[in-house]
């Protein structure tokens, strides 16, 4: 606004209308556009009027259709910004408009320099005005047949190849707009992929078709906006395919379903190519791009049909023209935002700071003196802070759903390639896990699922021989168990051959022949994690890709997890991944011992009691014992294990906290239970290292560090510490 609003404040519109060519030239519009924000509605409206006026004038003075079309297209874009829900894509649209206007000025100049050349060609080569309003609003109807919907825009037929000497993708390295675009493409394609997989189950799922359609449609619009012709043309063709499904001309089955999936993949790859170009690398057309494009242009001519998966035509050729579709249902725009993960971490840290700072205010003596009114206010703030903390801690937690969707895709692909039928069942996909963990878990899971389908599930013939249902079953389940997250992957395939595993391990020198004789089943199954030990009878194109089972184990171990295997030869295999919540939040009971405070994970605590003298016995060889419901369990004094002075010495005056179960059950003697707190476990840092009996630290409400007791480690420590002399 700077220049503009000072020049003609107030009645700018009338000024423009009366003498647009003197008040605001195209050049001035360009320079104004770069300064405008979506919020500058008045200025935007004025620019729109000016653009339309200019367009009319250009049309009238006979300088050719290109310039007016470009200007009009820019005006349409800006109108989209002004539309009720247009602000979301505002900055993108405004800069796209600015580019269009700039293209118009260049086209203008070209026309002036060489009057002979047709302004049309200049316009087409300089910019492909996208179907403007569609980009931001999904509710608009898509184009028919690849011709832009506004007839006054220079059309760009979908079969026009980029000229051969131009790079496949041309972008300014580091262009933020394009960077944003790449992120969007990825997101939309993942959404489309999920919906397409749902469509496999139910090809009539209207909502899923709409989701895919919208994804392709939006990618097309945005790609056009950032002038990525190759992407937008491809997205257009993919959108067209989906449009046919939407209008019921074809069903999302067989070859059509494959084609739609391949298109989604190709768009994702195109996104990656753009991202490579952004980094300044030379962007090549992804493999199979041109082929897929020509199939999409006329699937039936390439033999793709509802029944034919590829190559074979079912003879029913359908016209590649779709009816104008009905308006799409409300767009899901604005429900998600992407943000840098560091910012999220920062936010979570800051909320932690706030909680601590607030606790200090709450505990301040001045507040206590301030009377009821002050305390009431502080209590109110406390409630808000507590909710904010809960909210922020939940921010990093994500459900397994997205990961499981990816796995579904893996199962589908591997099964199809090997001619197997596999039913993939997911259970508990809303179980939440720290997003940092889910990322490191994705690759191992993909590998394991691939293995299950590849090596686990047998071919349909083999299964029938064995008297099983021809359709194999792979199930992945996630659930919370005792403060852990458990992911269980099971198949009803051939199971692991214990003896073959052991033989192979001996042959490869992984274990000795002596060891092989005494090895237990569970230990034998763990051998699949040894590098270089593959149980597959034959190496397929599926195995040997990505990470091996040894990497799976080390990845899980790096997360502090453990994998157990149970398998029955001929019946199937179950992998159980136990993950601790070390990256997540834990509930802890704050206890006091002397002047020190410790946190005991609530999930470890069975009960707490004040021991009666009759319950206590001392055995010289085993130390102190607490008899609980008739059974004696060891009693350890936290003060002694942690060398704390000033703790209560008389056990009957202290409190016993019973932790663990079975063999590991014991009672910890503390002075007092203070408070239950939800905390984020933090490592004590490289400076301190690991300490037996402690799993880490946490920032307590008063800002001090509280140490978290590792009850299992404590037991080990207690066994090392000499027994108490009575």
């Amino acid at each position: 606004m700077p220049r503009f609003s000072t020049d003609c404040t107030g009645d700018g519109q009338s000024l423009l209308r009366n003498g647009a060519d003197t008040a605001m030239t195209i050049e001035e519009i360009v320079s104004l556009l770069v300064q405008l924000e979506p919020e500058d509605r008045d200025e935007l409206e004025e620019v729109v009027s000016a653009l339309e006026l200019q367009a009319e004038e250009r049309k009238a003075d006979g300088s050719g259709p290109a310039v007016p079309a470009l200007l009009k297209s820019a005006a349409t874009k800006l109108r989209t910004v002004l539309a009720p829900d247009g602000a979301a894509h505002g900055p993108m649209l405004i800069s796209a408009a600015a580019r269009l206007v700039r293209a118009a000025t260049e086209s203008d100049r070209a026309a002036e320099e060489s009057p002979e050349s047709t302004p049309d060609s200049a316009a087409t080569s300089e910019s492909t005005p996208p179907p403007a309003a569609e980009a931001a609003r999904d509710s608009e109807s898509p184009d028919e047949d690849g011709v832009s919907d506004s007839s006054d825009e220079p059309a760009d037929p979908p079969d026009a190849e980029a000229s051969s000497d131009e790079p496949f993708i041309q972008v300014e390295p580091g262009d933020e707009l394009v960077e944003e675009f790449v992120g969007e493409v990825r997101e939309y394609c993942e959404g489309a992929e999920g919906a397409l997989l749902e469509l496999e189950e139910n090809p009539e799922d209207r909502e899923a078709i709409d989701t895919v359609f919208r994804a392709f449609h939006t990618v097309k619009g945005v790609a056009a906006m950032v002038e990525l012709d190759a992407v937008s043309k491809f997205a257009h063709l993919a959108e067209h395919l989906l449009d046919r499904m939407r209008s019921g001309k074809i069903r999302c089955v067989g070859g059509y379903a494959d084609l739609a999936l391949q298109s989604s993949d190709m768009l994702k790859e195109l996104g990656e190519a753009v991202s490579a170009a952004l980094r300044g690398e030379k962007a090549e057309a992804p493999e199979g791009y041109y082929q897929l494009r020509s199939i999409l242009e006329d699937p039936e001519a390439h033999g793709v049909g509802a029944h034919a998966r590829s190559g074979l035509s079912d003879g029913r050729s359908q016209p590649a023209r779709a009816a104008r579709p009905k308006k799409a249902t409300s767009a899901e725009d604005g429900q998600w935002i992407r943000m840098r993960s560091e910012r999220l971490d920062q936010l979570i840290d800051m909320v932690g700071e706030l909680v601590i700072a607030h606790a200090m205010v709450r505990e301040d003596a001045a507040i206590a003196k301030g009377g009821r009114e002050a305390q009431r206010k502080v209590t109110h703030v406390s409630k808000i802070v507590r909710e904010l903390q809960d909210l922020s801690m939940g921010l990093r937690m994500v459900p397994f759903r997205a990961t499981f969707k990816k796995l579904q895709r893996v199962v589908r692909d591997v099964a199809q390639r090997q001619g197997k039928s596999v039913e993939f069942v997911t259970v508990g996909d809303d179980t939440e896990i720290d997003r940092n963990m889910v990322e490191s878990l994705a690759d191992p899971l993909i590998h394991m699922v691939r293995n299950s389908v590849d090596h686990g599930v047998e071919t349909p013939e083999r299964r029938e021989e064995r008297g099983k249902h021809p359709i194999g079953r792979v199930q992945i389940a996630a659930y919370n168990s005792g403060g852990n997250v458990v992911v269980e992957l099971s198949d009803d395939g051939g199971g692991l051959d214990r003896n073959r595993l052991v033989d192979k391990a001996v042959k490869n020198g992984v274990i000795t022949a002596d060891r092989a004789r005494t090895i237990t089943d569970a230990e034998a199954f763990q051998l699949v994690f040894e590098a270089g030990l593959s149980t597959a009878e034959k190496v397929s194109d599926v195995s040997g890709r990505g990470v091996g089972m040894d990497v799976v184990r080390s990845n899980v171990a790096a997360l502090g997890g453990r994998i157990d295997i149970a398998s029955e030869l001929g019946e199937g295999t179950t992998f159980t991944i136990n993950l601790p919540l070390t990256l997540a939040i834990t509930d802890g009971m704050l206890v006091r011992v002397g002047q020190e405070r410790y946190l005991i994970p609530t999930t470890d605590i069975q009960s707490s009691l004040r021991p009666e003298p009759s319950m206590l016995t001392t055995v010289s060889s085993r130390g102190e014992l607490l008899t609980l419901r008739g059974a004696p369990i060891p009693l350890f004094r936290l003060s002694r294990l942690f060398e704390v002075e000033g703790a209560i010495d008389d056990s009957s005056q202290a409190l016993a906290v019973v932790v663990g179960d079975g063999e590991g059950q014991c009672a910890l003697l503390v002075d007092e239970l203070l408070d239950q707190q939800q905390v984020v476990i933090k490592s004590l840092g490289d400076g301190i290292g690991t300490i037996l009996g402690l799993s880490g630290g946490a920032i307590l409400a008063d800002g001090r560090v509280g140490l978290i007791v590792d009850t299992a480690g404590l037991l080990t420590l207690a066994r090392q510490t000499p027994a108490v002399t009575a």
């Binding site: 020190e596 060398e643 840092g685 400076g687 300490i691």
Partner: protein, 171 residues
């Protein structure tokens, strides 16, 4: 490695130092190593750590260890005073807090004012010293704080008079 002072190092030892008091002596550590200075507040004792580790504190959401420099140097233990404070230094990429009696000032030590530690003779273990800074008539021991903190042992900065043998803080 055990020779801290060579010709080439002369220049690198010049620069700004944060100086602090420990017992009657004034020490300096390179200002670049210093992250911040904290009051002596809220240290949580950690069991089963060397006695010179006072514990850990919360530094804006991160947990950092606190080393008591008096105990690290095997000096007499003193009561904490209002001047006692924690200097947070970055050692091998990790933040560590060190407890000192008081922080004095930041001084510029020019190359001409840095001398090698051996001027003290055998009384001082030079392994943990960059050198000695002499400015304004004051003598300051310039500590190689990363070396001090990277050993798990107690550092015998001053050697016992009768013990002229080389020993690296072995206790």
């Amino acid at each position: 490695m055990t020779e801290p002072a060579t010709e080439a190092q002369e220049d690198s030892r010049a620069g700004k130092y944060l100086t602090f008091m420990l017992d009657a002596e004034e020490y300096g550590i390179r200002i670049e190593k210093v992250q911040e200075i904290l009051g002596l507040l809220g240290i949580t004792r950690v069991p089963r750590t060397p006695h010179f580790v006072r514990g850990v504190v919360n530094l804006r959401g991160s947990i950092i260890p606190i080393v008591d420099l008096r105990r690290k140097f095997d000096m007499s233990v003193a009561e904490d005073t209002p001047q006692t404070c924690i200097i947070v230094v970055r050692s091998h990429g990790v933040d560590v807090g060190i407890v000192v009696d008081s922080v004095s000032e930041v001084v510029s030590v020019s190359a001409s004012h840095v001398e090698d530690a051996p001027h003290f003779g055998d009384a001082v273990n030079t392994d943990f010293l960059l050198g000695v800074g002499k400015t304004g008539g004051q003598v300051r021991l310039l500590l190689d704080i990363e070396r001090v903190l990277s050993t798990d042992e107690v550092v015998q900065l001053r050697r016992a008079g009768h013990d002229s043998e080389l020993e690296e803080g072995e206790s």
